[in-house]
């Protein structure tokens, strides 16, 4: 199957591959997988206390479309607030990369990864606040 130019570009020059420190309280980690194709995707976001995404890194093992989808979202989410980032839909990702119908699930995975990373960050923050409260009282 022929990949679109944008997919090939992201696949050959993936942006923001790597890891952020998982134990950093400002880092949210999203780990998602699609059993249908055996893909696994990790997306990490460093989020400021004001809720702005400062950095994004990913690591994906999967097909070209899955790599391109995650590479693209790392570019898109930087500078956005977490609330803005979670409004990114798989449709936008699929459209930008001209993904064919059989590859739509790759964009779904990337959308899920953003949501999972943000949820992890929020959970960490809630725990931190809970702990702070506990020490204060």
């Amino acid at each position: 199957m022929a990949y679109s130019d944008k997919v090939v570009d992201h696949y050959e020059n993936p942006r923001n591959v790597g890891t952020l420190d998982k134990s950093d309280p400002n880092v949210g980690t999203g780990l998602v997988g699609a059993p249908a194709c055996g893909d696994v995707m990790r997306l990490q976001l460093r989020i400021s206390d004001e809720g702005v995404i400062q950095d994004a890194k990913f690591k994906t093992f999967g097909c070209g479309s899955a790599i391109a989808s995650s590479s693209l979202v790392t570019e898109w989410v930087k500078g956005k607030t977490v609330d803005e980032a979670t409004t990114i839909t798989n449709k936008e990702i699929a459209k930008e990369l001209s993904l064919p119908p059989v590859k739509i699930h790759c964009s779904v995975l990337a959308e899920d990864a953003i949501k999972a990373a943000v949820a992890d960050f929020k959970k960490k923050r809630a725990e931190r606040q809970g702990a702070a409260k506990a020490t204060a009282t």
């Binding site: 199957m1 780990l31 998602v32 997988g33 699609a34 059993p35 249908a36 194709c37 055996g38 893909d39 696994v40 990790r42 690591k59 093992f61 999967g62 097909c63 070209g64 899955a66 739509i104 699930h105 779904v108």
Partner: protein, 186 residues
């Protein structure tokens, strides 16, 4: 005439009892007998409609044989009969425990770095490990599927079977990647 009646399973196509365990000799025998009976040269040679039907039946028979012959495709097929096709997109409904995903990612990263440093020994050590895991995971899936066959309405068992098979899918992808056939269409 219909090709198959609704509700017919691939087990029915071969005339075998449905289940996780299949008698291999019986399967081979059933396949051979039915193939001979369906041979296009025998069945309605002169009637194009009959001929086409016979070809379709042969294709179905081959599919049944291919699917049921080995334990793994058989297990995936049984889960599909329970309403969950893991090879389709609906597989998204199966949530994979984070622990499993972490393990998958870690193994893939180890494989990648072993590859990059040309450490073939490490590549085959990792593959051996995954092969062992793969056998354990298949047993777990089969055990869940046996219980599911007894109690098809048990959602917890269905999830257990689905998660084990999803994990098995990841093992396979790892082994494919280790053998160098990564990046194919998935």
């Amino acid at each position: 005439m219909q090709l198959v009646a609704p509700g017919t399973t691939l087990f029915d196509v071969l005339g075998l009892p449905r289940g996780v365990d299949v008698d291999k000799a019986e399967l081979e025998r059933a396949y051979r007998e039915r193939s001979l009976r369906l041979h296009p040269d025998r069945a309605g040679k002169d009637d194009p409609r009959e001929r086409r039907l016979s070809l379709e039946r042969t294709a179905l028979l081959n599919e049944a044989y291919k699917t049921l012959r080995a334990p793994e495709p058989r297990a995936f097929y049984l889960l599909k009969l329970h309403g969950l096709d893991l090879l389709k997109e609906e597989a998204r409904a199966v949530s994979i425990p984070p622990k499993v995903l972490e393990e998958v990612l870690q193994l893939r990263e180890q494989l990648e770095s072993a590859r990059e440093s040309g450490d073939d020994e490490q590549v085959s050590a990792l593959s051996d490990r995954v092969r062992v895991q793969s056998a354990t995971t298949l047993s777990a899936a089969q055990s869940a599927l046996r219980r599911l066959e007894q109690a098809p309405a048990d959602e917890a068992v269905r999830v257990e079977a689905a998660q084990a098979l999803a994990r098995l899918r990841y093992h396979h992808r790892f082994l494919e990647a280790a053998e160098g056939s990564d990046e194919e269409d998935s």
